[in-house]
Symmetry: none
Subunit: 142 residues, 4 copies
Amino acid sequence: MKLEQKYVLTSEIAREIVNKAEERAKELGVKVCIAVVDDGGNLVEFRRMTGAPILSIEIALNKAFTSIAFGLPTGQWYDLIKDEPALLYGIVHTPRLVIFAGGLPIKYGGKIIGGIGVSGATSQQDEEIAKAGISIFENQKV
Amino acid sequence: MKLEQKYVLTSEIAREIVNKAEERAKELGVKVCIAVVDDGGNLVEFRRMTGAPILSIEIALNKAFTSIAFGLPTGQWYDLIKDEPALLYGIVHTPRLVIFAGGLPIKYGGKIIGGIGVSGATSQQDEEIAKAGISIFENQKV
Amino acid sequence: MKLEQKYVLTSEIAREIVNKAEERAKELGVKVCIAVVDDGGNLVEFRRMTGAPILSIEIALNKAFTSIAFGLPTGQWYDLIKDEPALLYGIVHTPRLVIFAGGLPIKYGGKIIGGIGVSGATSQQDEEIAKAGISIFENQKV
Amino acid sequence: MKLEQKYVLTSEIAREIVNKAEERAKELGVKVCIAVVDDGGNLVEFRRMTGAPILSIEIALNKAFTSIAFGLPTGQWYDLIKDEPALLYGIVHTPRLVIFAGGLPIKYGGKIIGGIGVSGATSQQDEEIAKAGISIFENQKV
């Protein structure tokens, strides 16, 4: 029996992602919460920038969780469910599910290794900040 | 005093249902979570296919629970509540209630003996997989 | 940047573990719940044998979680905390923590890839059943 | 009307505390989770070192919360309650309360401005790591 392997999202990489995301938030002049979870949905690194809304703490955590738990950017959920009223009225109540932008899966070597969630600015800005965070993997050869 | 009887959804039957459902999921090329609960809503058998979303774990469990807890396929809930705004906006908050397809009551001898919940694909596929699971009772003489 | 790798506890292996554990439970003549979680603590496979106590459902799930969440057999917890009253009275309240036998980490290639939790018999029997489950990895060359 | 003022535990300071604590954890050769909350008990910074137990995520968060929520090191709780059975058996059930060492209030200028919680090693080591974190305030003139 030979088991398949997957990649480990280390603490160091999670911090690098959060640092990069925060840098972009500062450029945009917004204050956000940034969360990174591993592939099991468990928290690795979290930061609330000074002045970011307290409400955003849980939203950032949940965006990160949703991204890994379903493997899609949270910003794609509304389009997925908007034409099916049963989902639109129903699935949104799933605990920890966020259906608006700001959460992205973190991929490496073609596999999902974790998720990032950003909350505190507009959801478009949140997503832009999340994207900046995972840009640390660009131009990487695995 | 003579008490009425009910049928028991055994562990063996629950597993057979899950196996049959998984078979259909594989034919459809999707990865899902499959849960079977007994007539008390308590878990009997659960399977997460490799690669099925983590988010689907709880949804599958809740679809199985809803099916037995109200005695209807979860896919019929939206039509039931859509014209009563108080229900449409209110009852969807009931913990563990799922109002979209993928959960079915398990019936035998005209009685509900349990529920199956499937999550991970489209809700139509989820229901098709659930149906395949309970098809083991077809052509059965009680 | 090159990420470390870890092993994947697939659905097939989880089922094999549960089957093997159930076999041992039958030999012992007891009825138990058996849960297997992956390295993120998320449920992969669950079985309640016909007649196993409903109370054992959650205990089995929590034993599996505790095993992976701390990396130790649940049966070792009491000895760890018994001489520190603050832990003995305090840490036992941690949600999902179980401090009695029946949960074991699942190891492969020297790494923890998941956890198994068994509940329903005596805690010694529960652990024996869990051990039988993970015995599928014996004599394996990684 | 002139309102009293309080000090703000900024994101930058929280990170500095976490960094300092992690440094000590590395010296001790242990892997822990470290959480810093502000004076409202709301999360500011969190880090899970690679390999730290998943179980410690919530315990670290709760130790930080308890520290600020009651204004005492969590390690002092057991002595406070041990001679009052109603507390010893009762108050330990309070959600998010931790009664063993590893959580410390963060003080500045004689006031509590936040809390730090560490979990993953022995509770004595956890507290030592937490102490290292807040040592950044030593020799500070306010």
